[in-house]
Amino acid sequence: MSFFDEIRTEDYDEWGQIIAAATPEDVQAALDRPRRTVRDFAALVSPAAVPFLPRIAGEAERLTRIRFGQTVNMYIPLYLSNICSNRCRYCGFAADNHFKRRILTPAETEEECLAIRKLGYETILVVTGESGQSGMRYFREVIPLIKRHAAYLMMEVQPLDTQDYRELREMGVDCVCVYQETYHEPTYRENHLGGRKTDMRYRMETPERLGEAGMDKIGMGILLGLAEFRTDAVMLARHIAYMRRHYWRSRLSLSFPRLRPAEGGFCPPFPVSERELLQYVCAFRLFDPELEISISTRESASFRDMIVPLVINSISAGSCTQPGGYARPNEEVPQFVINDDRPTEEIAARLRNAGLDVIWHSSRIGQA
């Protein structure tokens, strides 16, 4: 049974009630248990856990250090295109938005890679919108050339078929991220108005296809602010547990993109505060200590300075979400507002001051 089929048997609202009904005793029990269940996660992410946040954060930090030592990975996003045929209400790239669309040629891509290399990055996250122009034919052209510049190559693009993922893996792609946005079907439908992204099943089954294709790392997450975040978080925790069970050879990474009010005119119906974000991330660390947790420049400098030394494994810096923006900075429409625009060296220095070793890639042993 795919995860989509499994989760259909769940009562989304019932989980909401379980979360709301969690007691301080449930939270304490979840904290004390050495191996936590989804039920425990629900307690940790519930309102009842808010007074426990210092202890939860402390435990999250301890688990992070034990599993990952004193290191943090740097990565940089490389936007190849902002052409997108999907109509997602919350995204700056939505098909209905009018602005100059671009897709980088191989030559332009090479220029961007050289600019990125100058910044010191060896881990690159390739990002495209979903369009006919940025499908497998395009990837066959650009991925091999990007791979020459990246020790570890990640992609955040439209969901693809298993066979495509196998092919991408052969080309040297190490990680693919596909965020479910929300596990709540009505919310998903309301916010995805057109394009292939309307197919919720296909999107939700992407991690499984990636597992089948033997992808080294699979990135998962929800878009915080779209639906009530605690219940959605529990569904994500269920999804992570499912992947651990069925595709245990793959690593899993978690991102937590957060919608901020007044961004591109879209007002998130369930805004998540920074404190709730901290609780969310720490709860995931306690639930699955092996998760590789990643943060982008969408979050503010002060929040990142606090949370990175605590539980984060991987961060981007010096990011640009405009295609071609590293080689030739421009003023085109961004996908989201960047709130930490400090240069890479400054952020790296801060992390070292916090006692972390900044590393530029951590590839598998034996990988060329």
Binding site: D32, P54, R55, G58, R275, L278, M306, P309
Partner: protein, 274 residues
């Protein structure tokens, strides 16, 4: 992992049945029949233990006299678990399994492949190979294996109805030598984990059950005890005690109360701003 939650009723005296391979068992002590001094001792030991699953081996019949083990077990009404002990590779194991199924009419098989006659350690490659063949052929496979977490995942993937990691080499009575690995297996397995081989004392069996094992299989420790019947009862009581302790939720260790000062500052600022 989640299965522990559903058997919480057991602690309160409700049913705590162990189910796998299309069967359910009240007793979580399985016994082997080797090395007993006589069928009478075997009968008494099995009877007093309450064990419901007893292993036997497949051998060429000695056509002069009989082995009454099977008759004893039939009298006691326990389920019989044939094993493939003696098989040195997958082919021999599969053949032994088919003989056992023909002889007993059961689809349950304990898969044992140990080409090493000294330590009787299981061959992981042949075991996995045989498991895949036997599962495809409709057997409910219970594989005896090294306490290797990855191997256990592969066996589970292949369709085995449980895994049986060894605690120590067969007959050594050394207890949970592989404890740390068994802990990982228990964390990762979705099928019952039956700790088999090397358990030498009831306290070993209790420890395995406290860790969360679904059951244990014991042979040598009972058969060669000074008083096998009393030892069988001791093991049964130990298994029950260990299981009860597990369900009761073993001692909670408290977590560190502190967080980094950066987090504390952050939370204080959030309070102030709220």
């Amino acid at each position: 992992m989640e299965t522990a939650m559903t058997s919480r009723e057991g602690a309160a005296g409700g049913s705590d049945l162990l189910s796998f391979g299309g069967r359910s068992f009240k007793s979580r002590l399985f016994l082997g029949t080797g090395k007993f001094s006589s069928p009478e001792v075997l009968r008494e030991a099995v009877g007093i233990s309450g064990s419901e699953l007893i292993t036997v081996a497949v051998r060429r019949t000695s056509l002069g006299g009989g082995d009454s083990t099977l008759a004893v077990l039939r009298e006691l009404g326990t389920a019989v678990l044939p094993n493939t002990a003696g098989a040195r590779d997958a082919r021999e194991a599969v053949f032994a399994a088919s003989l056992a199924r023909e002889a007993l009419g059961t689809d349950l098989i304990k898969l044992e492949v140990h080409p090493d006659p000294r330590y009787l350690l299981p061959d992981p490659v042949e075991t996995l190979k045989a498991a895949e063949i036997l599962v495809r052929d409709g057997f409910q496979v219970m594989p005896y294996c090294q306490a290797d977490p990855v191997l256990c995942r592969r066996l589970e993937e292949a369709g085995c109805c449980c895994v049986m990691p060894l605690a120590a080499p067969i007959g050594t009575n050394r207890g949970l030598v592989t404890r740390e690995m068994i802990a990982i297996i228990l964390e990762q397995a979705s099928v019952p984990v039956v700790v088999d081989a090397g358990l030498g004392a009831p306290s070993h069996a209790a420890a395995a059950m406290e860790m969360g094992a679904a059951a244990v299989l014991v042979n040598t420790a009972v058969a060669v005890a000074g008083d096998p019947v009393a030892m069988a009862l001791a093991f049964a009581e130990a298994v029950r005690a260990g299981r009860r302790a597990y369900l009761a939720g073993l001692g909670r260790s408290s977590t560190r109360a502190s967080a980094t000062s950066a987090v504390e500052n952050f939370l204080r600022d959030q309070e102030a701003g709220a």
